[in-house]
Symmetry: C2
Subunit: 353 residues, 2 copies
DNA sequence: GAAACCTGAGCGTGATATGAA
DNA sequence: GTTCATATCACGCTCAGGTTT
């Protein structure tokens, strides 16, 4: 391992440097570095040796500039969302075998989606994977007109033409949560919603529908929430003081549910003794032994895999993938991949007493 | 806003396309796009107009390839660490005014630091900012021989030549935590450590030293921990069952402390009634109303700002920045920026009863 | 004919040198 | 002399096409 590149000037070694050292043309070095065929075993070894000696590394930018394919997938994610972190992890894992690289662009305070996407475009990404995008439909449509775009966890109604959507059946997930609680004997079930967050509308609707189906329309109660712990905590304070207090609550997501749990514990409201709590997402958070949250699982690695697959499929002109399954009474437009959620029962739900 | 690029073939518009449309040379378009001087006001407007019409965006890769500076700072971070997320947020904010771009590379399951750094190097980053790197000192030394490298939150002993270090005075932070607890009347104070995590050794040492100074050497108790909630939860289970039980515990970081808090609550151990808990980092987590954790604050945005500053200073040949302040009895090598921590007292600490 | 190698062009920019008002 | 504009090359690499065994 050379501590310093063995090239005369301070510059980084290039193909030409390797070529000179190995006594071959740059084109041949290129062939060897790419592992393409067209080089003899002996010279191949000699070139690799030379490259190693001077610490050569191919310049990704120059490479991408020349070959008109960049094989780069741009991923926009929210820095503060564990759900996104999990997705990114899965996307890395899925992109590699498919032969694609990932360019990350974070949405953070002072760095909006517009900015995040622009940098990805400037980097010549071939396709965009947007995690829970909040951008207006018109903007997404505009983007989708320029390159393949996959929206993960955000459905759009009406469907945006050209936009790929990969999501969990949020309404179905909400239904599963309600069914589970009803099966345990609950009737007074509240929902802390996600406001304008991606998926919130469907979960709210799923909750409403399920409650009505069980003849519990009179018990429907939706509290304004959000996707952070604080949103959950605020709603939980309201619930803790409510009389009569619901015997179960379904939170918008795991972060929100965590806030609910903690507030209840501090207020002396026992979970699941006094009240059952269900989350959504099945992030790392929920699986932690000391949280042990019953939650609606999104198959995160599957979502990630499908997102990559859809982007790659579009890039490579593959035909539409088949749909994941049609849920009754709900038309799923083409180009939308809907994954079934799966309730994960853990320790925060029990029969009411 | 053009929904589709107005260029004949499906390709993305280039300088030449804009030039053709505006009836000027590509060089002039380049000048205009960079905002450089050498173009008349009228033509400048005409060029910008043409660029807008066909939806031209400069190709970052071609640009970086040509201009020998890339003005790119590579940032390696852990996807699952809120502390890193906060740092990245600060780094984005600091890099922009300095005129630098950020390239993110995540460390995740199946994607180690080696890999993360390699992609950054391939992208022609001019400097590296590594958040809590775990790589061996030899590897860091090798990297530092190639380009400016800043290690954030990980100190190295002995100092690695050429490596910039930006960190909080972890030992001092631990001392502040112990002092605070002692001032409240605690004597039996335990520490859940961070194992081999960056900063853990210093915090452990600071705890030991402070305990001894208060004449509480006999009460020193260090439990094996780590940097996740589960590590904290595991240690808390041990503590909850201990007789006599310490009246206070200082966790390695906020995540760990969160695990401790939750386990205590579930075990019926009141916080801060039965036991006080102190965290470390002051991440978003600690500030949440329902966690309300007393913690040793690292000035995250300051750390981020300094990290960017040190990287940029090295790139631009600026002289060594002055040191942050010399802590008694501790030699701080040149090239190391040490920031003073600040205890943030919230709701998880109180006098013992 | 195939395998091994080389030549030359060009990807989309930015900088320099040069010329025209 | 200053301002505005152009031509030309180089950045580091890949690829099509050619030459040699």
């Amino acid at each position: 391992m050379p501590a310093t590149p063995a090239v005369p000037d301070g510059k980084r070694p290039t193909l030409a440097d390797v070529a000179a050292r190995a006594g071959v043309s740059t084109a041949l070095v290129s062939i060897v570095m790419r592992g393409a065929k067209g080089a003899g075993a002996a010279t191949r070894e000699r070139v690799l040796e030379a490259a190693r000696e001077i610490g050569y590394r191919p310049d990704a930018r120059a490479r991408l500039l020349r070959s008109h394919r960049s094989r780069l997938l741009g991923v926009q994610f929210g820095l503060q969302h564990p759900f996104h972190s999990d997705l990114v992890e899965g996307i890395y894992a899925a992109a590699e075998p498919a032969g694609y690289q990932i360019a990350l662009s974070a949405v953070a305070a002072g760095r909006g989606e517009q900015r995040a996407v622009e940098t990805l475009l400037d980097d010549r990404c071939e396709a965009l994977i947007l995690l829970g995008p909040q951008a207006p439909a018109a903007r997404l449509a505009e983007l989708a007109g320029q390159l393949p775009v996959v929206s993960v966890a955000r459905r759009l109604r009406p469907a945006v033409p050209g936009l790929e959507v990969v999501r969990t059946a949020d309404d179905e997930g909400a239904r599963q949560a309600v069914d589970h609680l009803v099966a345990l004997g609950h009737r007074d079930i509240a929902h802390i919603d996600g406001g304008r967050a991606p998926g919130a509308a469907d979960r709210r609707r799923g909750y409403r529908t399920a409650m009505n189906r069980h003849g519990l329309g009179g018990h429907i109660r939706i509290l304004p929430g959000g996707l952070t712990e604080e949103d959950g905590a605020a709603a939980a304070r309201v619930l803790a003081a409510a009389r009569p207090r619901p015997t179960a609550v379904m939170a918008f997501n795991d972060r929100c549910a965590t806030g609910v749990l903690d507030t209840f514990l501090r207020s002396g409201v026992a979970v699941p003794g006094d009240i059952s709590v269900v989350g959504f997402d099945d992030t790392h958070l929920a699986r932690l032994a000391h949280i042990d949250l019953t939650t609606v699982g999104q198959d995160i690695s599957r979502l990630a895999g499908l997102a990559v697959d859809r982007a790659v499929a579009r890039l490579e002109g593959r035909p539409e993938g088949r749909l994941e399954g049609r849920l009754e009474g709900d038309e799923i437009p083409a180009g939308e991949q809907v994954i079934a959620p799966r309730l994960v029962v853990r320790g925060t739900t029990a029969p009411p007493r």
